[in-house]
């Protein structure tokens, strides 16, 4: 039988607001444990939550970027469960009326665009952090648990996709795209390795062509896009193997073990899933008027997908458009400026994502002496044969080092090509005369010897000759003498 995977992704995005979701404490993960805490985020008796407007703006921005409907009156609920790092022993979250619902995200896999539905995005608060000490940090063998509430109450947005994803690769692209959007919006640090964005996957399988959903397994603990893809691949294969072996799948949560490369069942307690949700009586419905939504919409930056489309429209191939889209804002700004100054897109792309990016990495500095106009000028020097492609790299170095306009740098560094036929003719004749055996071989039909001859002329001229012109002159000369 042929199987189809059905995958949904739940994403937790930690917002990088200055203060926490329901109190004024500073959000700072580098601080000493339990220093950014107050009666509210410690759950002291009598303390009350008040929502953070900035966080609400953050979730609305995410919702709009994901093409969601924004709910005018959404409701905060309490999710009740006992856990030592959850100070109130309930989490303020949203249940049946989230801020954002019914959106979608288009992802491109193998040249095909797939639309993944977004069921909802809701606002909630993060928990504190438990550290189990003694006996290797395992909770069941630990001698003590240390609690740090600095993270308690940090605003979290949970984005829930519909089960529209059909492969591990699609899941990875979805996650990458979502991360790119959140990073672009500037509402979160969106760093996987630090946990400021976290992905959990719901995976099930069904016979190809079936419309029914199979038994769903939630997998957690994927700390990179690669592990997300691997974990889902493993899980799909595990489920198919199990079903084909006649086993019954159980609905459960499984943990991805990166080193072992497999998902492992997490022991879950019976009945622990009744969270007794009810509307939080300490909070009133969250009212988001339409004009607030429009105000936020008007400040949204260009999102990765829009940018890729724009770049493709400017003449970049899809792969280049993607690379540029993921580049730093400095590079993207220079690209746009260079095009404004008349540079062709592919050349501007090549210079900026190639040499300029490499220089930035090497020197760990910003290209503050480079402008779009200078990029365009550099490209024109090459295109018009004023400098060779090789020499142009040196010109760029000079420009980046603050030596001035490309033309001036080329002249000051003596990199302008000799493109005068008369000036080059002498050098060509000298080389041909000194390399008669090569000339003979060329005439005997060994075409590629011409490269050697061009090289010799270049050497003769100290690299300043226009190689194209030299090539042409040699061919003419040898043809004429024949």
């Amino acid at each position: 039988m042929s199987w189809e995977a059905v995958i949904g992704i739940e994403t937790h995005v930690e917002l990088s607001t200055r203060s926490k979701m329901f109190c004024g404490c500073v959000v700072d993960f580098g601080a000493a444990p339990n220093t950014n805490v107050c009666p509210v985020c410690l759950g002291l008796p009598g303390a009350l939550p008040v929502p953070n407007r900035k966080a609400i703006e953050g979730i609305i921005a995410i919702g709009l970027a994901l093409n969601c409907e924004i709910t005018e009156r959404s409701v905060f609920h309490r999710k009740n469960y006992f856990y030592a790092d959850l100070p109130k022993n309930y989490q303020i979250s949203q249940y049946d009326v989230p801020v954002c619902h019914d959106g979608h995200l288009d992802v491109e896999v193998d040249g095909q665009t797939r639309r993944v539905g977004i069921e909802r995005a809701h606002m909630e608060e993060d928990t504190g952090k438990s550290t189990h000490v003694g006996d290797g940090g395992r909770i069941d063998a630990a001698s003590a648990t240390l609690l740090d509430f600095n993270r308690s109450g940090v605003p979290l947005v949970e984005v829930v996709s519909r089960p529209d994803i059909r492969s591990a690769a699609e899941a990875r692209v979805y996650a990458q795209e979502l991360r790119a959007i959140v990073a672009e919006l500037g509402v979160s640090d969106a760093r996987l390795e630090e946990g400021s964005i976290r992905f959990d996957a719901n995976v099930s399988i069904r016979p190809e062509g079936s419309e029914e959903l199979g038994t769903k397994v939630e997998i957690k603990n994927m700390n990179s896009f690669r592990s997300l893809e691997r974990a889902i691949e493993f899980e799909i294969a595990r489920q198919i193997a199990a079903v084909e072996a006649g086993e019954e799948l159980v609905q459960e949560t499984r943990h991805w073990d990166e080193e072992a490369g497999e998902t492992l069942s997490m022991r879950t307690k019976e009945g622990s899933s009744d969270y007794r949700y009810f509307a939080d009586p300490d909070l009133v419905p969250l009212v988001v008027p339409a004009d607030w939504v429009e105000e936020i919409r008007s400040t949204l930056p260009e999102l990765p997908e829009q940018r890729r489309k724009r770049y493709a429209g400017l003449g970049l191939d899809p792969k280049s458009a993607e690379i540029l889209s993921a580049s730093s804002p400095v590079i993207r700004g220079l690209f746009d400026d260079a095009l404004d100054a008349g540079a062709p897109a592919p050349a501007a792309f090549n210079w900026l994502t190639g040499e300029v990016t490499a220089w930035m990495r090497r020197t760990e500095s910003e290209p503050s002496n480079l402008t779009g106009v200078r990029v365009a000028a550099l490209i024109e020097l090459v295109d018009t044969g004023v400098v060779s492609a090789t020499a142009a790299k040196e010109v760029l170095e000079g420009v980046l080092a603050g030596e001035g306009e490309p033309r001036a740098v080329a002249e000051a560094r003596d990199l302008v090509q000799v493109s005068d036929r008369g000036e080059l003719a002498g050098a060509v004749e000298e080389v041909l005369a000194a390399n008669s055996d090569a000339v003979e071989r060329y005439r005997g039909g060994e075409e590629k010897v011409i490269g050697f001859l061009v090289g010799q002329v270049m050497r003769q001229t100290g690299g300043k000759a226009d190689p194209k012109l030299v090539n042409e002159l040699i061919r003419e000369s040898l043809a004429g003498n024949g």
């Binding site: 002291l44 008796p45 009598g46 929502p51 648990t145 007794r276 300490d282």
Partner: protein
């Protein structure tokens, strides 16, 4: 030296120089010294803090810095309001020794108004009860008869005011916990409109119902104390932004031309004849003074109690989850974190708290939510609609505050349902969010106080106080309890 026994009187005496704030405090401490062994109104009297505050108030006043009518007045706080540096227990074993690092907003307001905080008064544990017998630190008793309860849950605050060991006190009212003890102790108790007094720093019982309010000897004093504590608080998301009514604006304006509704459902079986006749007499007097009296029916009041006993425990089950031994209060060790939490809660909570937490947990459980909590919310909506309809026809509603006068200590402790019925008249206002208050109108043949309840629509405090002041004038109630003083 003769010291006035009302806030308004004391405020005048302070300003004409006949008493000092220290004198007022010493009179209150002397009363407490004489009566606490019999009443146990206080859990904790902060003598040093209060003396320092009284001295500061005198110095302030001498320097011409008059902070208003509460300046220098000794006030008691129910022990479910957080006081920085002063133990706050909610009368629970689970918070034994807990010292909050911050003041509740009402406490900050009182301090800014120059009030002198005498101490923390007794209550039913986490404000769950109607007799102050559910306190983990022992019951309080009624100053009018020390074999009887003072009502609850703000029984300590009411007893202290009735006994003269405070000029006024704050209580909290979730289902009648200010008004019912006020009724049983012959004091004035006000539950203001939901959202007008900040809940920040009030240890929550049922967040959608809890409201802080004053307990005083007179209606005027209640208005003064209310004005000192209410107002918008950005720390409470349910706080009302304003504008606020002026509860003192129409004191003395009489009831001529007002329409008063007598609630049909709050009478009959279970109501003591002395209570019913006293209320009927007062209604007749109000009519003589020019009020239009009409009988009104609010059928939803019949099921208010049932709805209340689902909503309040449901919220409580979640509000009390934070008491787990992890961060503060009692901790009873266990092999695992879960066991530590379970043991702490098992030992830390008294039987009534456990009963309500279990009830509430059950009401919110998957599969039961809609039948219990969901249904209770629908009843609450029906009550709101019912009350809104009736307030289109009348200005205020009146009824007994409590179906009975103070009952004997121990009489209802083993019968939770009988205890719950103590709040039958007061619960509807909590469910609707509207203001209501109790005013003493006389004593029954045993010498026990009877309370008269005035209910108004939300933000209708001006009219409510206007009617209450007239009730107070017509009743001419000025009796004070005689508390047997134990020698030594």
């Amino acid at each position: 030296m003769s010291v006035p026994d009302t806030i308004a009187g004391a405020a005048r005496a302070l300003r004409d120089g006949s008493v000092t704030a220290v004198d007022l405090l010493e009179s209150v401490l002397e009363r407490a010294h004489l009566t606490e062994a019999q009443l146990h109104a206080y859990l904790n009297i902060d003598r040093d803090g209060a003396r320092a505050a009284a001295e500061a108030a005198d110095a302030d006043l001498a320097a011409g810095n008059d902070r208003g009518p509460l300046h220098g007045i000794p006030i008691a706080l129910k022990d479910n309001m957080c006081t920085r540096g002063l133990e706050t227990t909610a009368a629970s074993q689970i918070l034994a020794g807990y010292v909050p690092p911050y003041d509740a907003t009402v406490v900050t307001s009182l301090r800014e108004a120059g009030a002198v905080i005498v101490g923390k008064t007794n209550l039913d544990e986490f404000a769950m009860g109607s007799s102050t017998e559910n306190s983990a630190y022992g019951p309080s008793f009624n100053p009018w008869d020390i074999t009887r309860v003072p009502g609850g849950s703000s029984g300590g605050s009411a007893a202290a005011v009735a006994a003269g060991s405070a000029f006024g006190a704050l209580g909290s009212d979730t289902g009648g916990s200010i008004r019912q003890p006020a009724s049983l102790t012959g004091t004035v108790g006000v539950k203001p409109t939901y959202g007008t007094v900040s809940r920040y720093g009030l240890i929550a019982f049922a967040s959608s119902l809890d409201q802080i309010g004053p307990i005083t000897r007179t209606v005027e004093d209640a208005a003064l104390l209310l004005q000192a504590i209410w107002g918008h608080d950005p720390r409470d998301a349910t706080s009302y932004p304003g504008p606020y009514p002026d509860p003192a604006a129409s004191l003395g304006a009489g009831v001529d031309g007002l329409r008063i509704g007598v609630v049909t459902e709050l009478a009959g079986e279970g109501y003591e004849p002395a209570v019913e006749s006293a209320v009927a007499d007062m209604v007749a007097k109000l009519q003589e003074e020019g009020a239009t009296v009409v009988e009104v029916s609010l059928p939803s009041f019949e099921i208010a109690l049932s709805a209340y006993y689902l909503i309040a425990p449901a919220e409580a089950s979640s509000n009390l989850a934070r008491f787990d031994g992890v961060r503060y209060g009692l901790r009873v060790d266990g092999e695992t974190t879960e066991e530590m939490m379970a043991r702490t809660r098992g030992q830390g909570f008294g039987p009534e708290v456990v009963r309500r937490v279990l009830l509430g947990t059950y009401a919110l459980s998957a599969g039961y939510y809609d039948a219990f909590y969901g249904q209770a919310q629908r009843v609450r909506a029906a009550i709101r609609a019912d009350v809104a309809r009736v307030f289109g026809e009348v200005d205020v509603l009146v009824s007994p505050t409590s179906p009975t006068v103070a009952f004997s200590a121990g009489a209802r402790v083993d019968d939770p349902l009988a205890m719950y019925l103590s709040d039958i008249c007061t619960i509807p206002s909590n469910l609707s969010g509207d203001p209501a208050m109790s005013v003493p109108i006389g004593l029954d043949e045993q010498g026990l106080p009877i309370g008269f309840q005035v209910m108004a629509p939300s933000l209708g405090e001006e009219t409510m106080f206007r009617v209450a002041a007239e009730v107070e004038r017509l009743a001419g109630f000025d009796a004070r309890p005689e508390i047997p003083v134990v020698a030594g």
